[in-house]
């Protein structure tokens, strides 16, 4: 019951050393100090939150202000002229779309397969599962420029695909796999265990259970993972510089080089003088694409995910 029983750290939150003499004025001084520290921290925390918000507002207003005027239906449907100063971004949007399709076409089957194996057919602490998970953690930490180096050495040179949408898409697929797998695995794990027991008691094979019961139940998380992967892929620049290349023409096949939207912004602002207004408009398009994908991911996470699993 005595004061000594309380750990000093909790008894002395202000960090002021305890003195044995605790006169009334001492106590008042100390509580005032605590009150000041409290107010100071409150002010600091609010100031930080307000400045972060202010910077965000500054960036968005600047971009929308300069970009929205240049944005038009023609900008979206015309091909770039004069290295992008004039004209639009039609070919760039097509390249971005093709690149995304290659990326997802490769990443989805691989990611789905791995996630199913990890969640449904592997005991949690099995050595194989641990090894795969460890390797995915490492993959997730690889810097994007290193993906670019690898993609250039492996897809462009060793496999002979050259600077092409195919090389870029395959490189991106390697990048988004960890994200995709984690999301699908979590989705599968959140399917109630009774589903599996029920299916087993009906004599269904595990593959039937998987295809008809578990995958539909985990579908929202799959979609959410997919959208996150798309977001990451659209945002990527460095990994594509030396895999998908710079060419701004309309791509004729997957073996053509194609410039994505992020690379277009980079190229306009760094290599083309007088390209700023086109760059601003491209930034607006990129941000709208990202907001839509992020919004969709959040919406799926909040509404669909819960309703599907609970029913």
């Amino acid at each position: 019951m005595s004061r000594q029983n309380i750990p000093p750290s909790q008894n002395n939150p202000s960090g002021v050393p305890r003195s044995p003499a605790t006169t009334k004025s001492d106590l008042i001084a100390r509580s005032q100090k605590i009150a000041y520290a409290d107010i100071l921290l409150s002010l600091l925390v609010w100031a930080v939150a307000i400045s972060v918000t202010a910077v965000f507002v500054w960036i968005s207003v600047d971009i929308v202000w300069h970009g929205a005027g240049h944005l038009s239906w023609e900008f979206l449907t015309k091909e770039p002229e004069e290295a992008g100063r004039q004209g639009g971004i039609a070919s760039i949007l097509v390249s971005t779309g093709l690149l995304l399709s290659v990326c997802l076409g490769v990443a989805v089957p691989l990611g789905l397969g791995t996630a199913i194996l990890l969640a449904e057919f592997t005991v949690l602490n099995n050595w194989f599962g641990r090894l795969v998970r460890r390797s995915l953690d490492m993959l997730a930490s690889v810097p994007s420029i290193v993906f670019g180096l690898f993609g250039n050495a492996f897809f462009c040179v060793t496999l002979g695909l050259g600077f092409s949408i195919l090389s870029g898409g395959l490189t991106l697929a390697c990048m988004v796999l960890p994200l995709l797998i984690r999301s699908v695995e979590e989705g599968l794990r959140s399917v109630p265990h009774e589903y599996r027991l029920g299916a087993a008691s009906l004599g269904l094979s595990r593959s039937t259970t998987l295809v008809n019961l578990l995958l539909p139940a985990a579908f929202p998380s799959l979609a959410a993972g997919l959208i996150l992967g798309i977001g990451r892929a659209i945002a990527e620049t460095a990994a594509l510089m030396y895999t998908s290349g710079y060419v701004e023409r309309m791509p004729e096949s997957l073996l053509d080089s194609g410039r994505t939207l992020s690379l277009h912004i980079y190229s306009l602002s760094m290599n083309v003088s007088g390209g700023d207004s086109s760059a601003y408009a491209s930034v607006v398009v990129l941000m709208i694409l990202l907001l839509v994908t992020n919004g969709a991911a959040i919406w799926i996470g909040e509404h669909w995910l819960h309703s599907r699993i609970q029913n």
Partner: protein
């Protein structure tokens, strides 16, 4: 007996086929990272064979055409810009997380969280572009040339603040409710509660958030490429231009051939190594947490 075994053998075979093909896929996915490391080493070998490892640290400058390969100035520049960004972003990120949990009214906290989520999705190239057209001219007025270490630090901090804040926010959510109730029972001040109870309890999550933020900053290419000036030197003030390792790769892959190309893969290998150390560190902290509880 035999007939029933025959009947059930069909789905079992399908199951077995499924499991084995899934294992095949997982093996492919699991070996991607080995492939990456393997290719980096393979492409680095020619220059290692020719000059060894030490010139990368000891040579006087970076001029691969002349056969001098010092990565030291770029390594130091990389570490400086990352350290600056993390020193700036870590307090801001953690204070932001504290704001969401202990200071803001609930609707404001949710709004702020949404804002952080949106910010964490903004691509590097957008920050880089904004930095180039807005921040660089501002800093140029302060102290030319504007493309500098400082600009890089500010923009990288902007990039990683939401990452740090969101992970820190999740780890603050994990602080047991009893601790907070105890603090209220002891009538601790808000500052006292945070300093003595919340921060120690959420320590490992906060460290993890900083480490993940650091990893993101080290690998970031496009921002530093756009706003740091790309001059190979050890900066003597924050207003001097620098070139980081990732920016160097992006700049020179265009025309690099032979040993030069090989040297760029060496810098890739170095980046990869630094990041792997960070991942192991984050995992070690997580492990310690498990044993702690």
């Amino acid at each position: 007996m035999t007939s029933s075994a025959k009947k059930t053998s069909f789905p079992q075979n399908v199951d077995r086929l499924l499991v084995w093909s899934l294992r095949g896929i997982a093996v492919i996915v699991g070996t991607i990272v080995l492939f990456i490391i393997g290719f980096l080493i393979l492409e680095s070998l020619p220059v290692f064979r020719k000059v060894g490892v030490l010139p990368f640290l000891r040579d006087t400058s970076w001029n691969p055409m002349q056969g001098v390969y010092s990565l030291t100035p770029m390594l130091i520049s990389t570490l400086l810009v990352v350290a600056g960004a993390v020193l700036l972003a870590a307090p801001i990120g953690i204070l932001s997380a504290l704001f969401c949990h202990y200071y803001a009214p609930k609707p404001v906290a949710n709004l702020y969280r949404r804002l952080l989520e949106i910010m964490s999705g903004i691509p590097g190239v957008v920050y880089g572009f904004w930095g180039l057209v807005v921040l660089v001219p501002l800093i140029n007025r302060l102290h030319p040339p504007g493309t500098s270490l400082l600009t890089g630090i500010l923009l990288l901090a902007l990039l990683i603040t939401p990452t740090i804040a969101l992970i820190a926010d999740a780890s603050l959510a994990g602080v047991p409710q009893e601790y907070l109730q105890g603090a209220v029972a002891l009538s601790l001040s808000r500052w006292g509660t945070i300093r003595e109870i919340v921060l120690p309890a959420a320590r490992s999550g906060l460290f993890t958030s900083i480490i993940l933020g650091t990893g993101r900053a080290i690998g970031e290419t496009i921002i530093v490429l756009m706003v740091c000036g790309n001059i190979v030197q050890i900066p003597s003030s924050v207003f001097e231009p620098i070139r980081t390792l990732p920016a160097n790769i992006a700049l020179e892959m265009d025309f690099a051939l032979g040993d030069h190309r090989s040297a760029l893969f060496v810098s890739g290998l170095l980046l990869m190594g630094v990041n792997l150390v960070l991942v192991l560190l984050a995992e070690a902290i997580a492990q310690e947490e498990i044993y702690h509880n």
